[in-house]
Symmetry: C2
Subunit: 238 residues, 2 copies
């Protein structure tokens, strides 16, 4: 597959900054991408915590190209920046990134507005004025930065613990070219297929799949994901 | 499988009334259930239209046990009543069924509050005050009738045209025993697996999967459905 082809895969030579990469989803993505030969920068509010998380990735993946930096510094290191912070930290984090993000970058928002952010249930969501956390992110990023929404249905522990997965990532965004670039990163992780779910506004639906899967998980004691059935085999992103 | 075992499968000896069974989803379900040896009653506001739809099922499935009746009469014919009307007709239909539905019946609500009901897009939803169309139904049915939500992600034309399917039906409801009875009907249709998605309030998420799949379908020229990955093989409903 893509393992080790950092040079031959266009656009992947630069690292992937993961803002909030010390959290479960961010760390799991860091593990999987470094395993696939992709360089990653873990961002955190606290440099020491970022370095610790990076060291933990190196333990799991000895050949990992990874470093830990403060969020704002991390965000400058690559063209496609992943945002994996809890909903209650999303707005503050984006405010702090205003000077770091710039023209042409893509911000991949993975935020889920679960009610747990305000001590409600993890199976319930909060209404976001803009429609979705991703649309809130689009409102907050500097001009020229586009937001793409992804990774809401992938189990963080399944990624982190190297379980075998075979599922889809639903991608929302307003420009197909941006979504295609994110799709390429998604599919560098073995077992993940990228599905074009539509415009960014569709994130208001996809973001609610996390609490739905949490509800299913609690009933089945499982780590579930989503697969879209009935799609053609051809490469939609080509 | 279950084909023809009307006597041996407890609880399935009575027909399944499908209110709004002249529509695409209702008709597709009627076709599949009659093919599996399950008796069906198609309900419509208009008796003649109900009889026409039943006749069309008989053309596709010569051995079908099926009849067409006016909605209120149809609703008295079986313990588990399927509601497959467009969102704009849901409230009026339930008002008209107030005298027909009674203690102990289960109403399976398949309603999707798509914005198309008020000339908006099929990829957008309307906010329902009660949280979801299913919860609106629960508020409207007579005491003693319980609402279970299902069938939102199954492609109506795929059912009607006898395409091969292999996907899940996400079931929401407040009592597992009621959901298990609906699950049994779901799994009489070849290729469908019933998944317990949680309490009835989770319908507000599952109902939005229809516009999400409509968005995917338009991009891929496909008839998609949903599969939950990572579930254990054991029978959750036993």
């Amino acid at each position: 597959m893509h393992t080790g082809c950092v040079v031959s895969c266009a656009g992947l030579a630069e690292p992937i900054p993961i803002i909030g990469g010390t959290g479960a989803l961010g760390w799991g993505l860091a593990r999987r991408w470094t395993e696939a030969g992709q360089a990653v920068v873990i961002g955190s509010r606290d440099t020491a915590r970022a370095e610790q998380a990076a060291a933990k990735v190196r333990e799991a993946v000895p050949e990992a190209e990874i470093e830990g930096l403060q969020n704002a510094e991390a965000a400058t290191r690559g063209p496609i920046v992943i945002l994996t912070v809890p909903f209650r930290a999303q707005s503050e984090t984006l405010t702090n990134l205003k000077g770091a993000l710039g023209e042409g970058q893509i911000l991949v928002d993975c935020t889920v507005p679960v009610a747990a952010a305000v001590s409600g249930r993890a199976t319930r969501t909060l209404g976001v004025w803009q429609g979705s956390a991703a649309q809130q992110a689009q409102e907050m990023v500097p001009d020229g930065v586009t937001v793409v929404s992804a990774f809401h249905t992938v189990s963080a522990p399944a990624l982190a613990e190297k379980e075998e997965i075979a599922e889809d990532v639903l991608i929302c965004g307003d420009r197909k070219a941006d979504k295609a670039r994110v799709a390429e990163l998604v599919e560098r992780i073995e077992g993940l297929r990228a599905v074009n779910a539509g415009a960014l506004e569709m994130a208001r639906i996809v973001e609610t799949l996390t609490p739905l899967l949490i509800s299913v998980n609690s009933r089945y004691k499982a780590r579930t994901g989503i697969r879209v059935t009935g799609l053609p085999d051809s490469d939609h992103w080509a």
